[in-house]
Each structure stands twice: as C-alpha cells, then as structure tokens.
Amino acid sequence: MFAWHGALWAILRKEVLSLRRNRQWVAAEAYFVAGAVLVVLFAFPPVALDADVRAGLVWVVLYFAAMMTVARSYTIEQDRGTLLYLMHTAPSDAVYWGKLASAVVWVMAIGLSQWLLMTLVGLIPFAVQVAVAMLAGCAAIGGATSLLAAIVAATQMRGWVFAAIAFPIVLPILFLGVESVATALAGGGLGAIAPELGIMLLYMLMVSVVAWWLFPFVWSQS
C-alpha cells in the first residue's frame, strides 16, 4: 500500500539533515520569536492584558513565524538547485507528505518554543490547554500551507506572493486559533476548546488531502 514509505522517510531524514546544516535558519527563527515577544513586553505590562488581547498577540507572532518557515520548504530546494534532482528521484507522494510532515513538525517546534518563552516571561499562564491550542494551530498551518509553498517555488517575488496566497487559506485557522487560545487563556479547559480544535484539524485534513491530489500538477516540469 505504501510503496513509497521508504522514500518518505528518506525525505524526512533529508529535511532534518539539511536543517542541521543550515543552523542559521534556526537562529533566524529564534531571533524573530524572541524579538517579537520582547517588543510585546516593552509595549504592555503583561498583567494588564485581557485574554482576547493576549490570544491576538500570541497569534500575530505565531502567524509570521510560521509563514517564514513554511515558505522556505520548497524554495530552498530551488535556491540550492536540488529541485530537479528531487523531482526525478523521489515519487511525488513521498515528497508531498515528507515536506508536509517536516513543515508540521517545524512549525510546531516554533509554537512550542514560543509557548515556553511567553510562559517564562509571564505573558501567558502555565497551562497545558494553552500549549495544546497553540500546537494544534501550528500543525494546522503547517499542513494546510505545504502545497502553497510548492506553488510559490514556481513564481517570481516569492516571499510576498506566499504571504498573499497563504493568507486566505490560513484565515479559518487563525480565526479558530485565536478563539481557542482566548478560551484557554480565560480559564477554559481542554473540553472547552475541543470543538474549535476539532474543526481546525478537520479543515487541515480536508485541505491537505485535496492538496495531495493536486500536488502532481504543481510538481512537474514545464
């Protein structure tokens, strides 16, 4: 059934290795998140903020950090000149799911580090449900925008084209993500945020399955 699962693991392994070789990307992401959290801290004393405002701030930082990450997953292949090589050596299904999985994991890692940082500086209380809400949102963003990253690899002015085309796709996730983080910050338990997270993950699943079917049209030369 999964004739390409070997290739899938190979792609995942390749992603991790290339990340190790490009540690400046990790540093860039970390600087971005830390910088954004610092700016928030300079502007507001954390105790004075409502749950809604804090949820908004959490998602502003998360959204831009995630966009930076996902946009890179295919353009990096083109910049290194490895796009054609990958096209000819790996089945497209393996490339799609491998890239998607690495995007999900990578965006979730950013979400986790942001949660840790924000909890440490006191912007958000230490609560599991906040972390769950943020991580689910991260997973949904990574899964829903992976195909778009492949599309922008074929365009000019890639950075802002990605921002433009990803925004409408990510909007439902942002909408539900802000609601769920706000509920969690206001003291709601896992049960209170479960419906929103469920809809969000269902949405991600729908988008990623349709994108899987569409991927061969994007992933071909000409």
């Binding site: 599309i151 365009t155 000019q156 085309i165 049209f217 994007v218």
Partner: protein
C-alpha cells in the same frame, strides 16, 4: 414553495446563461439578462412596502416611524368624524385618526386601501396619507422598512460573487483534467467578474449596515467571509501575475481549487457557528427574511421578486463572463501567447 422559487430561478438562470457555451455569443443570454433584470428592478423598486398594525407599533420608535398598512376591502367602521376602527390584512385592529372619516370609510368599502402613518400608542394609529392598494405589494420586514429593497440587489450580487468563484473552481478543475486552454481563460474571466460582484455586494452591504447597524464595518463574520472571498480573488490574481507563462495556468488552477475549501468553510460554516448580525447565525432565532417559513401572499411576492433578481443576476453574470472570456481568448490569440 419559496425554496422551489429560488431553485427554479437559479436553475433557469444557470441554464439560460450557460447554454450555447460561454465561448460563444448567444442572443438568448443578452435578451434574458436585460428582460429579467429589468422586471426585477421594477418589482423591487415600484411596489409599495406594506405592513400591519403590529409592524407600526414595533416601528413607532424608529426613524422615520411611518409604516404603510394594508386594509382589505370593508376593513373599517366609523367611530366619529375623525376616527375609524380599521382591521389590517393580518386581522389586527387599531383606531385610526384621519382627516375625514366618512370619505376614507367610503374608499375602504369600495376597494382595499393603504394607510400610511405612525402608531402613537398601542391602540391609536395616526394616518398621514391614504392611497388605493395596487395589485403587487412587498411585505414590510421588521427594522428594515424601505431599506428592505436593498436586499433585492445586495443578496443577488453576493450570490453572483460566490457563484463566480464556484465557476472559477469548476473550470480550473476541468483545465487540470483536460488541459484545454479556454477553460483556464474562462476560470480567470469568472474570477474577474466575480471580484466585481463581490466588491459591489460588499460596498452595498456596508452602506446598508451604516443605516441599520450604525457602522460601515461591524466585524460581523458574514462581512469577514465576503472580505475573505475578495482576499482569495486578490491572491489568485497576484499568483497569476507573478508566475511565468507555462506554469501560470496550472498553478492558478490548483490554487483556485485549494482556496475553494477555505471559501466553503468561511462562507457556510463559520458564520453559522459564531455570533453575527446577519440572519441565520448562532445567536439568531430568526432565520432572516429570505429563508423564513412564512407563506402569506405578500411573502410569496417577496420570494418571487427575489427569485427574479437571482435569475437576472445569474444571467447578467454569465453575459459579462462570456464577454470577458471571449475578450481574453481573442487577446491571447492576437498577442500570440497561445496558438
């Protein structure tokens, strides 16, 4: 019954608009669009909006507080020189202050009448003017009054905007499956026309909202979902403009299909699970004037006029789509972008 009207109107509009193929010019489309939209405009603007005494009591604090009440033939009896007891078409009774009660009584006994005025208490209605009732009348919708007529333009143009997006998606899918270049041109043309209709629905809605809800933009989820549709269209054009030619058509088609999931989600699911000012949202017991289950005669008139406008805007959209698509096919052939 109402749903049958709407479905028939949509089916007729789509059949008239798409028969003969979008790439070809047909007289049917042009004539149908002109006639149906013409009749629709007449139906939406000409008939008076009539209500009941109950509506008048509800609107007593509104600006302006005047309501036109429909009195069926023989629905009045004399109390004194300036006072009549009138019964409206819903069966409610109120005392009406008029200038000359005997003249008005004679008029009501001869034919159905419209009394325009305002309720000054729960029992008394002060009549400002009287008129004989025409054959076609539109029902009063609470809190909307005369502004209810905007509905017959605002909702069909929003429908045309959404429908255009569905057409973009369908022709994008066809392009991906069959690879015919004309399908891509139609998908692109539909996005262009759809942007226009969505923008018009948005602007007309903003003006309406200013006078009904107090602000041009209310952070309402329905407003957000239309804004999202505009964002999708914008992203679609940005993508087309920034992708070099052979890949452009394929990438745009793929994007239209993926974006349609987000559009479906924000148009149909999110507005119904969140609190909104528009009818049909989570906190709203009232499903709205278009889908309400009432079925008196006036309500059917409303449904009929609304259906005509839906069909009219659908055909108008296909006409504009056909012109735009043929223009782009010609342009690309002349400029040698495709053989």
């Amino acid at each position: 019954m109402k749903f049958l009207f709407y479905l028939l109107a949509l089916a007729a509009g789509i059949a008239l608009g798409f028969s003969g193929g979008i790439q070809r010019r047909t007289w049917r489309r042009a004539i149908a669009a002109t006639i149906i939209v013409g009749v629709g405009i007449f139906g939406a603007l000409e008939p008076p909006i009539v209500g009941t005494f109950r509506d008048a009591i509800v609107e007593a604090t509104a600006t302006p507080p005047t309501v036109t009440v429909f009195i069926p033939r023989g629905g009045a009896s004399l109390l004194n020189d300036t006072l009549l007891e009138c019964t409206d078409y819903a069966g409610a009774t109120m005392m009406c202050i008029v200038r000359n009660a005997e003249i008005v009584l004679a008029q009501v006994n001869a034919a159905p009448m419209l009394l325009t005025g305002e309720s000054i208490s729960h029992e008394v209605f002060r009549v400002i003017s009287t008129d004989s009732a025409p054959t076609i009348m539109l029902p009063h919708i609470p809190a909307l009054g005369e502004k209810a007529r905007i509905m017959y333009f605002h909702v069909p143009s929003a429908w045309a905007g959404f429908f255009a997006f569905a057409v973009t998606m369908i022709f994008s899918l066809r392009y991906l499956r069959q690879g015919k270049h004309d399908d891509d041109v139609i998908a692109h043309a539909s996005a262009l026309v759809g942007t226009l209709f969505t923008a018009l629905a948005y602007i007309s809605g903003a003006i309406w909202a200013k006078f009904n809800w107090g602000k041009f933009f209310n952070w309402d989820t329905r407003e957000l979902s239309v804004l999202l549709l505009l964002a999708i269209y914008a992203a679609y054009f940005v993508l087309r403009a920034n992708t070099p030619a052979p890949a452009r058509y394929r990438m745009a088609a793929v994007y239209a299909v993926v974006a349609s999931i987000a559009a479906l989600f924000l148009i149909f699911i999110v507005p119904r699970i969140t609190v909104s000012l528009h009818p049909g949202s989570k906190d709203d017991a009232n499903i709205g004037p278009i889908l309400s289950p009432e079925h008196d005669a006036l309500d059917l008139t409303k449904a009929a006029v609304f259906s005509i406008m839906l069909a009219g805007f659908t055909v108008l959209y296909t006409w504009m789509l056909s012109i735009t698509a043929r223009f782009h096919i010609l342009r690309q052939r002349l400029l040698g972008q495709i053989s």
